[in-house]
Subunit: 319 residues, 2 copies
């Protein structure tokens, strides 16, 4: 049994898996545990799954319950005051998760939105270290942002940071949120794939040759990979995608003017010359802050998949 | 001579006038002084004008310099660390205004952006009282926002809250900031006037009759007044304008999810049935927060022209 105290448990609730990690007070991961999770299962069962996973990771780490200072849970939805207000994909609405969890495992519980947890992880242990104001944008199936303002997670009434649901194309593509033309519909991984298919279709319609490919352009990685090899449709799509990304990122910077803005999620793994470098160029000439000589630094997130778990573990310190 | 202590001086730097006010520590205005101001005059002269005005308002109020706790100055531009980083209309760039002012009048000086000062005024003495997170949007010649987050002005690196320079129509109307399609080009008073002229032109082109009017539609007030009387082109323009307003307001709410968002500036004086009521309807069905049952309250600002001056006077407490 480890003699450490001040330990944390972070739990990351994802679309297909629940991940838990035991960390020290600085976010260093001591051990992790994962189990499959296929979404809606009711509040009681959900709390039960989380508590079991927390117990397991404690056992794996050889730690006593008394050594744990806090459990943090990252939820794909809005949270406030120990409650899950709304989490669409796991079908929870106004659930007193803190209380349900503590009935099974009586430890101090902190709830956070998953994008906020990712931002908190990067802020404490990744590229956001040392910033006062820091924004982490996650580019994946959807687009979300976590806001660290004045060194704390900023959530407003519970659902702040819904950057993906800022409309950038009025009357545009319908979004799951009910609006049309949300940024998410132009800056997510599926949007990039859609742009690649459209570019390919126009090339075919124009009678242009289709290059040989090692596989179909079914995900963001494949599109970037094809573009890197010179595939014209993929290159066109990447250029268009970066423009859409720059549009929303510039909007965010003009509103929040943080020291750093980090890109995370699957898309952020793209080669610099296809993503980060052209993005920096486009935002540098559009951001309002250029007038006053204070520029938000655009960087790639550092922690990858672990950001959410680490951030959840450290929620106590940044909430 | 008043026996009060803990007094404040607030100075509001506008496009055509400098206004100063002496207030108590709660923002109650004891007396004001105003002088014309026609913009660029150089840093030294600018500081001189401000210091003179502060002295005059002290004299008017019969207050001793020792009774003044702080001077706050609201600047139409970005400020940070006692410096004006950038103020386009008064042609200041990286000016150490705090130092220049104190050389003439040695009192503690706080600088704020003008939209932030308006928000601070409403937050402490107007419709934002009691909120933790509060946004004030000013709709006038331009569009700006002041953000009070966690009870403090949030300015990021100095230029946060530039909501008017969030692009809502990519490739749209060119903006003074260098982008195209900024929200300001669709939600400012000149935008409303433009929409009225366009609506009138289409009606004329379609051979529809032009109603008699008491005067031309040259400002926001005239358009709302004509719409109130049933003028079809003005009504059409107001409806279009409210849609554009709702688009940006919803974006702001989805990003910041504050308790309240207040509309200020000349446009906010419009009749409720033409502005606030349809705006509430449109945002209510678009805001992401509706899913979690926590709704940002949309209200009209209460302090009118005085918000900036009062907020400047109270900068010390909300910076």
């Amino acid at each position: 049994m480890t003699g450490k105290t001040g330990l944390r448990i972070g739990i990351d609730v994802g679309g297909t898996a629940l991940k838990a990690g035991l960390t020290d007070g600085e976010g260093a991961v001591l051990c992790t545990r994962q189990r499959p999770f296929d979404g809606p299962c009711g509040p009681e069962r959900f709390a039960q799954l989380l508590a079991e996973l927390a117990r397991q990771v404690l056992e794996d780490g050889g730690a006593a319950m008394e050594a744990v200072e806090a459990v943090g849970i990252g939820i794909p939805g809005a949270v406030a005051g120990g409650r899950v207000l709304y989490a669409c994909n796991i079908a929870l609405r106004d659930v007193p998760l803190e209380a349900l969890f503590r009935r099974r495992l009586d430890l101090p519980v902190y709830l956070g939105n998953d994008a906020d947890c990712a931002a908190a992880g990067e802020y404490r242990c990744g590229t956001g270290r040392g910033c006062r104001d820091f924004v982490a944008v996650t580019l994946g199936t959807g687009v979300g942002a976590g806001l660290i303002l004045n060194g704390r997670i900023y959530a407003g009434l519970g659902a702040a940071g819904e950057a993906g649901h800022m409309v950038t194309h009025p009357g545009g593509i319908p979004c799951t949120c009910g609006r049309r033309g949300c940024w998410e519909q132009y800056a997510s991984a599926p949007a990039l794939v859609r742009m690649a298919h459209l570019a390919e279709r126009s090339r075919l319609d124009a009678g242009l040759p289709s290059p040989e490919r090692s596989g179909p352009l079914t995900d963001g990685r494949a599109v970037f990979e094809a573009a890197r090899r010179g595939d014209p449709a993929a290159k066109e799509a990447c250029a268009r995608y970066v423009e859409e990304l720059a549009l929303g990122i510039t909007n965010l910077i003009n509103l929040l003017h943080p020291e750093k803005l980090a890109l995370g999620g699957g898309i952020s793994q793209a080669p610099d010359e296809l993503l980060l470098l052209p993005l920096r160029k486009l935002t540098a000439r559009a951001c309002y802050g250029r007038h006053c000589g204070k520029t938000t630094e655009l960087v790639r997130a550092e922690l990858g998949n672990r950001a959410g778990l680490v951030g959840a573990a450290l929620l106590k310190d940044v909430s």
